[in-house]
Structures are given as C-alpha cells and as structure tokens.
C-alpha cells in the first residue's frame, strides 16, 4: 500500500485536535467491520462520530449508541469532518455533497480512509476550501501521533524528547 501522498504530522495533528464531531459515511452496525472498529476507537478518544448509513438509518438503528443518518444532509450540525469509509469510486459523490453542505453543516475536512483515494474529488474539495486527506485511517493516525501505534510494534515516525504535560479530559485540547 505504498503511496505518493504526503501529509505532514503537523497537518494531521492539527485536524485531529480541532475536530470534535465526525460524520462517518459507510459506518457499519456490524462490530466486526473495520469501520465499526475505527468508530469505536475514535469515540473512546473523545470524538463524537455520527454514522451515515442509509440501510441502518432506514431500520432506525443505533450504531455504537449513535442514531444512523441516511445521508450527510441528515447529520446534525456542527460536524467538522466527513470520513469516507466507502470505495474510491463513491468518494466523488460524497465529496460533492460535502461541498454543497459545507456552510450549513460546518464541514472543514474531507478524510478518505486507508485504501480510498479519489483525486478528482480531492481537487474539487480543495478548490471549495476544504482540507482533504486521502488513503489514511484517522484511528491509525491518532494512534501514531498520540503514542499508541508503537505499542503494537509499528514505526510511528514520531521522535521527540519533550515530556508533554498529561492531558486533561479526553486527551485532546479544546
């Protein structure tokens, strides 16, 4: 899964610090699915994650305690980030919707999951003033930048000799 996309740690850290609420498009009610894993982890880190899943919404389902929405149209504002947990081909339509609803919902970031990349969508979103991240997982990036990924034996790429003061509350700054 090599990639020529490069995002600085400062950019990713800034997004994950600023964002409070995430609309996760493609979040699954099945706890064994990767999207459900990511959603649960992000909730534990203090993010509110609103699942967007038409089928779950039609069934009136809760996913990890949150009511599923049928589309981005239905998510309650403010939501700073749209996390695309869908195939790359589906990302263009979702991104266009995010652009359309940008002001109404407060969207600032369109984030496409690990394995998801749509350069056309990215170009349109950036032209509309949205920040775009592609082919990354916010769970892995959070774990990497907040010192948890290394627990699994992974190279975080992070080196620092500073000793940060312990975090208050959920671990992210206000």
């Amino acid at each position: 899964m090599a990639t020529d996309l490069h995002y600085s740690d400062a950019l990713i850290t800034g997004i994950l610090r600023r964002v409070r609420t995430i609309a996760m498009v493609g979040a699954s009610p099945n706890w064994k699915r990767p999207s459900n894993f990511a959603m649960k982890y992000l909730q534990e880190k203090g993010f509110r994650v609103i699942p967007v899943n038409p089928r779950a919404a039609a069934a009136g389902a809760l996913i990890l305690g949150e009511k599923a929405c049928a589309s981005l149209e239905d998510v309650p504002a403010p939501v700073e980030m749209v996390d695309v947990f869908r195939a790359s081909e589906a990302a263009l339509e979702i991104t266009r919707e995010a652009i359309r609803l940008r002001a109404e919902k407060g969207f600032e970031v369109v984030w496409m999951q690990l394995g998801v990349r749509n350069d056309e969508a990215a170009a349109e979103a950036e032209a509309a003033g949205l920040t775009v991240i592609m082919n990354r997982c916010p769970k892995i990036e959070y774990g990497r930048l907040w010192g948890e990924l290394g627990w699994g034996g992974f190279d975080s790429g992070v080196i620092s000799s500073r000793w940060p003061r312990p975090a208050k509350g959920n671990g992210r700054a206000g």
Partner: protein, 438 residues
C-alpha cells in the same frame, strides 16, 4: 505553556530523521508518567483494564494497548518500533530468539502441506530448523543455490510461497543478490524473506531491494555485547495479502477473532498485528522485557560499532590473506572476493565482521587454530564486542551432511571469525601465534 502545547506531542519530520538519530530515539520518548528518559523495563506479566468495555476492546483488537506480556509489552514494543524504523519497515514483532522469529515469520504464510524455498547458504541452525523440525508442522523447504537464478525460478514455479535468504550469509563472505531474487519472488507471487542478522540495517536495507519480510537474530550485532538471546520479524507493509489470495491466514476470516479478516481490517498493519495477536499468542515465544532493554541499549550504538567491526574485520582479513598457513580468505570486502561487486551494491557501509578462512591442514589444523587462541573466545556466537572464533564443521554446522556443509561454506578446513571491537593489532597477534602453533 499553552494548553495546546501541553497536550500534543511534538512530532518531527518522521521518516526524514537520520539513521543515527533513529537508532537512539525511535520508539522511545520520555516515559509518559514518570518522565524517565531511558526506556523503563516493564517487568510485568499483565496489564490492568479500565473497565469491562476496555477489556473487550483490547481482546477484540479494536484498540491499541496491552493485555498480557506474551502478546505485547511496552519495553519490547519500544524495541519493535526501533527495529522497524531502522529497517524502514511498517512494524516489527520481537521474539524469544532469532529462530523463534523465523517460525513467527512463516507461521501466517505457510499452511500444512505447503512449501517454501531457502538458500543453501544459511546459518547451519536455520538449515536444520527448516529441514528437520519444520516438516513436523508439515511445512516443507526446498533448498536452492540462489546464485543460480533459473534454479530459483524453477523452485518458485513448483509452489514455494516464500524464498528465504541471508543478505550477508553466515558463516561469511557471501553476499546475496537481493534485487534479482526479489524480482523473481514477486513474479511468482511469493515473498522474499531476508535474514539481515549479519549485515544489520546499518550495512544493508533489504526492503530497499524489494524484500517483503526481514528476520533478525537480535542475539548478534543488534544487542552487540553477547548478553541476550532474541529475535525480530519486520514487515515491509507492502505485500497485498487480499489481492494475492495465496495467504488465507492473513486475508480470510480468523475464527479465533470472530471471523475478522486481518488484511481487510488492518491494511498494511495486518502482518504485525497477526504476529502478535495470533503468532505470539499461540506460539508463545515472546521476548523478555530485560532482553528488549539490553537490545535497545545495543541499537543506540549500532552504527558506531558496525563501523569499527567492519574496519577491524577487513584489516584482519587482509592480514590473513598473506599468511603462509592460510589457503583462502572469504571476506566480501577483499578486492579478490567474487562478491566484491555485490558487496559494494548492497553493503556500501562495509562488508560485515563475520568471515571465514581456510587453514592448510584441514579439519585437524582448523580445530587446533581455534584451541590455540588466547584473546579470541572459542564459542558458538557472532556479533559480540569480543572477537570470536569457531570451527563450524565440528560445531555450528556439525548436524549437516558433508554436502550441506560444503554448500554452506563450512567445509573441514574452514575457520569462522566474528571480529570484535578490540585493538586490531592484538587480534592479529593472537591469530599469528595460534596459526604458528597449529
């Protein structure tokens, strides 16, 4: 200090940090609770859960964290991140020994009844492990001369799912053409697994030449003082398990984790998550935290030590080349070595510190040289600060057949040296008197 600053770890340019910086710092910031600057030895068997939901998340692999030190330990994890960083890999899994790391490397890949291929030029213990013990798991190894590329192609075409080689081969002087072999492995849908023990990532970076996995005996140069038994398997993160379909252990539902598919759920982290959550869980050959700590100390000086190891070893090899009792010297850094060109390509920082020479007088003379040494230690190890000497035919390669010994470069007249960090003139003097007395 602003609140923002207090709560966000500073993060630098990541992969742009230099090798020497990473060998000291990768994986190891100040301890979050105490500020301890050196990595603490987390001598604990198990870890508390916040509550039942946290425990469930950990057991389900939904969150990062520790459960039980068979599966993972913070000191060991620091070493794993360090080794992964130095090799340029995605992640690493440490193991109780180099041999345990080899079992861990094959475990997710090879099902009962399946085959892999390995070079004939390997550490004798690896030849024995692959040819005697692995068949008990119904794993089968075809040994192949990896300098004969058409033979390698043929063995890969017969269904070998991986090719195992040593970058710089024990007992010494042999450099493997990693780029050519990774091309053949890729074309056959197989993995290239490289034992990088003798070279260390300071001398050779197998992932840059297309390797998929790297294994280490951390017992050797990584720890560097002859203090520990340890190993590691490092994943490049580049093999696409889902697309390949040949590795169901990683791409198909895992019953013991509620039908989770590792490659789908963890992407390029899949191999390393599996190595901990399934490999170490069930094979149990985990590294002890004290051994991880000692190996971390070793990695802090890796480049410095390897430079001196290489310099001393080349000087000794050059001296031996002119000695009347020496038939030949096999050191890839010598101008006469047939591996000189490969060494310049794959080992630009030096051709290593382990090499062999042939003594006139065969088996008996070989044994006598070893016994006459005063400064060199006669023992079965390599990669120590101390210089080591051994007669492979009567020791490390004793379990092999005559043909296997010859193929491995461990014939009757062969003496193996692992050159340490002592004053090089003292090493030469010791060998001089031993050869004179032999």
């Amino acid at each position: 200090m602003s609140e923002d600053e207090t709560q966000t770890p500073a993060s630098g340019p990541g992969p742009d940090w230099g090798f020497e910086t990473r060998m000291i710092h990768a994986g190891a910031g100040p301890d979050p609770t105490s500020g301890a600057r050196q990595t603490p030895i987390h001598q604990t068997s198990a870890y508390a859960f916040h509550d039942a939901d946290h425990a469930a998340s950990l057991f389900n692999l939904q969150t990062f964290g520790f459960i039980y030190s068979r599966l993972g330990n913070p000191t060991v994890a620091t070493l794993e991140e360090r080794i992964a960083s130095l090799e340029g890999g995605r992640g690493a899994t440490c193991a109780a020994s180099g041999h345990a790391a080899q079992v861990l490397a094959f475990f997710p890949l090879i099902e009962a009844g399946e085959r892999f291929a390995a070079s004939t030029r390997l550490y004798g213990g690896s030849v024995t492990q692959f040819s005697r013990t692995f068949p008990k798991f119904d794993w089968h190894c075809d040994f192949v001369d990896t300098e004969d590329l058409s033979a390698v192609e043929a063995v890969l075409a017969q269904g070998a799912k991986a090719l195992f080689v040593e970058s710089l081969a024990n007992p010494g002087g042999v450099v493997t053409d990693l780029e050519a072999l990774s091309g053949l492995a890729r074309a056959a849908g197989a993995l290239l697994i490289v034992d990088n023990t003798l070279a260390t990532p300071w001398l050779c970076r197998p992932f840059e030449w297309g390797a998929d996995l790297i294994v280490h005996s951390a017992t050797k140069f990584l720890s560097g003082n002859g203090t520990v038994i340890g190993g590691a398997v490092v994943d490049s993160g580049r093999f696409d398990w889902s697309a390949s379909g040949r590795f169901p252990g990683l791409s198909e539902p895992e019953p013991a984790y509620h039908g989770l598919k590792f490659s789908e759920t963890f992407g390029d982290l899949a191999f390393t998550v599996h190595s901990h959550a399934v490999g170490l869980r069930d094979l149990g050959a985990s590294m002890a935290p004290m051994n991880a700590f000692l190996t971390l100390l070793g990695t802090e000086t890796l480049a410095l030590r390897m430079e001196r190891h290489c310099r001393n070893s080349l000087a000794v090899a050059e001296w031996l080349t002119g000695h009347p009792k020496v038939e030949w010297v096999s050191h890839a850094g010598l101008p006469t070595s047939p591996y000189r060109e490969l060494a310049e390509k794959y080992l630009p920082n030096g051709a290593g510190a382990v090499f062999t020479f042939g003594v006139r007088g065969g088996y008996e003379a070989g044994v006598r040289v070893v016994e006459k040494c005063e400064l060199f230690s006669h023992l079965a190890n390599i990669g120590d600060a101390r210089s080591l000497i051994i007669h492979p035919a009567s020791t490390t390669h004793r379990q092999l057949t005559d043909e296997q010994r010859a193929a491995a470069g461990a014939g009757p007249e062969v003496v193996r040296l692992s050159i340490g960090l002592e004053t090089v003139d003292d090493l030469v003097r010791d060998l001089d008197q031993a050869l004179a007395a032999a």
